[in-house]
Subunit: 455 residues, 2 copies
Amino acid sequence: MAPDEEPRPWEELEKLIEESDAGRVEAFLDTLPGGEAVLAVSRLSEDDQAALLTTLDPEEAAELVEQMPDAQAVEMIERLEPEAAAAIVDELPSDEQADLLGDLDRQDAEAILNEMSPDDARDARELVQYADDVAGGLMVKEFLSYAHNSTVADVLADMQANAETYQDFDVQYAYVTAEENRLVGVLRLRDLLLARRSRAISAIMIGDPQTVPDTSSLDELRATFDRYQFYGVPVVNDAGALVGVVQHADVEEALADRSDSDFLKSRGIVGGEELRTMPLLVRSRRRLAWLSVNVVLNIIAASVIAMYQETLTAVIALAVFLPIISDMSGCSGNQAVAVTMRELTLGLVRPTELARVWLKEVSVGVINGVVLGLLIAVAAILWKGNAFLGLVVGGAMAANTLVAVSIGGTVPLVLRRFNMDPALASGPILTTITDMCGFFLVLSFAAALLPLLTA
Amino acid sequence: MAPDEEPRPWEELEKLIEESDAGRVEAFLDTLPGGEAVLAVSRLSEDDQAALLTTLDPEEAAELVEQMPDAQAVEMIERLEPEAAAAIVDELPSDEQADLLGDLDRQDAEAILNEMSPDDARDARELVQYADDVAGGLMVKEFLSYAHNSTVADVLADMQANAETYQDFDVQYAYVTAEENRLVGVLRLRDLLLARRSRAISAIMIGDPQTVPDTSSLDELRATFDRYQFYGVPVVNDAGALVGVVQHADVEEALADRSDSDFLKSRGIVGGEELRTMPLLVRSRRRLAWLSVNVVLNIIAASVIAMYQETLTAVIALAVFLPIISDMSGCSGNQAVAVTMRELTLGLVRPTELARVWLKEVSVGVINGVVLGLLIAVAAILWKGNAFLGLVVGGAMAANTLVAVSIGGTVPLVLRRFNMDPALASGPILTTITDMCGFFLVLSFAAALLPLLTA
């Protein structure tokens, strides 16, 4: 190995794990700069990962699990004994508990829940009921709430008595509830600071607080946090009872995860996640799921070429331009797909607004189609010295660019409207249609002008 | 128009803007459900958008500007008179001020800065010096800091006197500084609550606090927040002086923005953003910048086909398989690109680890190449009844799948290593190489077996 090679912290880590010295392992992880701990742990063998988690004390292990990518965290936890796993999961914030347990096999999750502390298990069971990307699934149960008839002194006494437990809570606000846990107000910590201790908190709370329903979508939550400078928003159920608090950072993190997952899906990673530490057959199978659909679609599209074999034989130069037009139409259409996906994410377009998007795309498509058509026509004329060949391939390119942006701009809207995933399905639909259409345009134009092309 | 058409809140908004009634405009915007306000404002004409911002009071206008996508917010602000723009920018948090001013023309930004309140302008000028995606560019100046020799009573008096100003601050923590603004500790608000008022804050602060340098990258910040349950982290400069606070939510938001921008770039939207409300020529030009590079690369790749015209004429069926192999190799390679981009984002791979990634990709590539090769071979044999044609196209497909995943997995690493943008450049490099290689494999195999194919 070259002497200037980069450090391999996982080798050192392996040695320390073998020695089962929690203190030294922890100290070593602390010396690693940001992100290197994740890299090092990800490179350990499965057995060493399990040994690492059981060597560290549960709080340290939980901190490590939180840093790992979700898919890897799940694998690491499911390889532990339920008791050891539960000790670690107990130390996670409630929203992370729910995410992790929700991703485990039902049986594994139950086994861990049964070993968890009863309070945490109850909270986690409640959160697991919700989808990952609604307020109920994103909220935490770690918040402070007090009955509306408490005094300032009561609150301060509680905070003092439970200072340890509240360590990781966001205590900027406390929530004030009436009968049946109905949320009636928000208490700012700074107001507590300055109030007489005998006052009722209902006298200093801010009434009628902003809330979100537990079914709020990620986009609705984003809109709420974009609008108000909140660090967290209380979540209420149908009955108006306070069930949790959604934090701004958790919403932004979920948005980033969704973007990353969409990126992977749009590139053909079914499920939206692949790490190279996953088993070979899992990786291969997920990729093949996508590829095998595409190969069938490709054969269907290329069958258009088979119908024009005579034209092709007569003007073999056309075979050079078929892949160019197929690929360029894919490029143009994918740009339109990306912009529609972006506008959907930002809430700047409704899934029903096909006409609006189509008109906006057609105007770009005309300009870009003419430019690309001219470029390819010039290339054809320079190569073969036949202006009609330029006309055929340039005309087909221009027309198919228009087709591609029309399809690309609107397909994600149609898929969204029918509750299908535009990230996963837009690409294959787009390229199949534009390929068929592109091959047909080139070859039918050529067939029509055949005498001029072979002159 | 159909009676069941969706509401068009922008039409109502236009009417209210015409009446210049700030109260009614504000009330109307408040009635719109999450996200609909953004949609409505984005659909207004440029003049109506400007009129809307000047009709609302600056605080309300700033709230609206914050909700708009960044690119649109910049356009809206730059169309206002500097004085009106400054009044609105003054109401934004300091990090948003800096983002907005940094995206404006230098001249426009200067004009606005000159009209802003001197304190805000000074802060904004400081933040604008930093890149958007380092701690210095993401931090806010809205935080509380006190000299280490202050007493608890001093701090409480200051908080009471400036309650209005501190309204939007994160006051979970206050920061304690020594001479030359050097950060020496963190003060938890809850500890203030319970301390005697005559005590020095240096006695109740947490010393030696976790900090990040102002040059910290987004990935380093993510690692910090993944590791510690902080809502914000103090930012220090070279000299150890406290210059700002980075909030967890702002880091997550910047990560989401980066993912979205990478998604758009990888799909050929140069600059990483396009909204359909942008001017037609801007949209067309940005897309063409990408398309014109691609058309040249495509012509280069397809020139391989031109060298084998004789082989193609002899076995015209090959022309059907060329686009299939080109497209499928693109699919396989793009999957590998996506996984590498993902692992780079998560810090699970270093840009130098070409061999590791290549080996991981080869193992998937062999399996998937064999499966795809068999599929396409069977299709060829069923169509033409010639086993050698199946051998040629299947063999080429299998070999080129291996090439595609090898290139796709490693190209983003090489680009990152040379500080180029893997999101923008990986795709075109991948498809050009895999196209050339795929065409060469099919046609050279066919040329070698020509007598058997034409038998």
